[in-house]
C-alpha cells in the first residue's frame, strides 16, 4: 500500500472498515471474479444466440430456400406444358397419387406446409435425418431413409428440431384434429389431415413402421409422421404427430385452395 500516493492517508481511511484498493493494481480475486462474471455472460449470450438469434436466422433462410424450390417446380411444370392453360380440374379426383423414387442423401425432394405452424410456414424436406439436413440453413426437415415416400401406402416419416436451428416443428403440439398438412413435390400436392399426437421415448423406432407400432402388419393406409423432441429445449422425449392421407393433385392442377393462397404470397415475396 506504500505506492498509494494519490490518496491522503487520513485517520479516517486508516481506521476505515474497508481499505480502498490501490489504483492500477488488481487483486487476484478481483480478476478471477471478473473472469467468472464474463464467463457467465458469455454462456447467457450463447444461449440467446442459439435459441433466438440463430434460430430466427436459420428459420428465415430455410423458409426462403423452400419457397424457391416450390417456385421452381411450378415454373418447370408451366414450361413443360408449353405455357398452355392449366387443364380443367378432374371432378373425380386424380386417382392414386404418384409416388416418386427415393432421393439421394440430403436431396431436397419435397416442401412441407402446415398452416397451423403459421400462414407462411414452409420448409424443405430432404433425405436423411443427420445434422447435415436438420441443422442446414437451406433444409431443416429430414425424411427417415427407408420409410415411405409422399403418397405411398405406408408411413412417410420426417423429423425436425423443436427449438433452435430453425425449429421446424416448434408448434407441433398445437396441431388440432383435421388440420391440413401439405406436402409438395415436383409431381404435385399431397394433402394429409392431422390425426393425433403421441409422446414416446427416444428409442421408439416403431413409430416409423408402415403401420406405427405394428411392425408385422401390412400397411393399407397412407400416413405421414412428424417427429421432434419434447419438451421444449430438452431431448428427454419425442413428440410424434400422425396425419392421414386425404387427396393428391398434380402440379398442373394447381395447389389445393388453402395452399394456393400461401403459394401466391410466396411468389410475390
Amino acid at each position: 500500500m506504500s505506492d498509494r500516493a494519490d490518496l491522503p492517508a487520513t485517520e479516517e481511511t486508516r481506521r476505515g472498515r474497508r481499505r480502498p484498493r490501490p489504483r492500477g493494481r488488481a487483486s487476484v480475486a478481483g480478476v478471477l471474479g471478473e473472469l467468472l462474471i464474463t464467463a457467465g455472460v458469455l454462456v447467457l449470450l450463447f444461449l440467446g444466440w442459439q435459441l433466438w438469434w440463430n434460430d430466427a436466422v436459420m428459420a428465415g433462410s430455410q423458409s426462403s430456400a423452400a419457397a424457391e424450390i416450390s417456385r421452381n417446380w411450378i415454373e418447370q411444370d408451366r414450361l413443360a406444358r408449353g405455357h398452355t392453360a392449366a387443364p380443367a380440374p378432374e371432378p373425380t379426383g386424380y386417382g392414386d397419387p404418384v409416388v416418386a423414387a427415393a432421393p439421394g442423401p440430403a436431396d431436397a425432394f419435397a416442401v412441407l406446409y402446415v398452416p397451423r405452424f403459421g400462414a407462411d410456414y414452409h420448409r424443405s424436406i430432404a433425405e436423411g435425418v443427420g445434422l447435415d439436413v436438420l441443422n442446414s440453413p437451406q433444409l431443416g426437415i429430414g425424411h427417415y431413409p427407408g420409410t415411405q415416400m409422399p403418397g405411398e401406402v405406408g408411413n412417410f416419416a420426417v423429423a425436425a428440431h423443436r427449438s433452435a436451428n430453425g425449429g421446424g416443428m416448434h408448434l407441433i403440439h398445437q396441431l388440432q384434429l383435421g388440420d391440413p398438412i401439405y406436402v409438395q413435390t415436383s409431381d404435385g400436392f399431397y394433402t394429409y389431415r392431422f390425426r393425433d399426437l403421441e409422446y414416446v421415448s427416444p428409442a421408439t423406432v416403431e413409430v416409423l413402421d408402415p403401420v406405427p407400432h405394428h411392425p408385422d402388419a401390412s400397411a393399407v393406409d397412407r400416413i405421414i409422421t412428424l417427429t421432434s423432441c419434447n419438451p421444449f429445449y430438452s431431448t428427454a422425449e419425442r413428440i410424434i404427430a400422425y396425419g392421414v392421407f386425404e387427396s393428391w393433385q398434380p402440379t398442373s392442377a394447381g395447389a389445393p385452395a388453402e395452399l394456393a393462397t400461401i403459394i401466391a404470397a410466396q411468389a410475390q415475396g
Binding site: 488488481a26 438469434w53 440463430n54 428440431h161 433452435a164 421408439t204 423406432v205 413409430v207 417427429t227 419425442r238
Partner: protein, 53 residues
C-alpha cells in the same frame, strides 16, 4: 481487469464510453460469426429423431 482497460482508453469519458461500445460490438460480431457456431457444432445435442445413433 476491466478497470485497467478503462484507464488504458484515451480521451474524455464520452470518448471512452464510445470506445467501449465499439469494442463490445466487435466482440459480439466475432462471437456470433465464429465462436458460437463453433461451440454449437461441438455441444449440439439437439436430437429430434427417434432411434438416433
Amino acid at each position: 481487469m476491466y478497470a485497467a482497460l478503462w484507464r488504458v482508453l484515451p480521451g474524455p469519458v464520452w470518448l471512452r464510453i464510445l470506445f467501449v461500445l465499439v469494442l463490445l460490438a466487435g466482440v459480439l460480431v466475432i462471437l456470433s460469426t465464429w465462436v458460437f457456431p463453433w461451440v454449437d457444432s461441438i455441444v449440439n445435442n439437439q436430437e429430434a429423431t427417434v432411434g438416433s445413433p
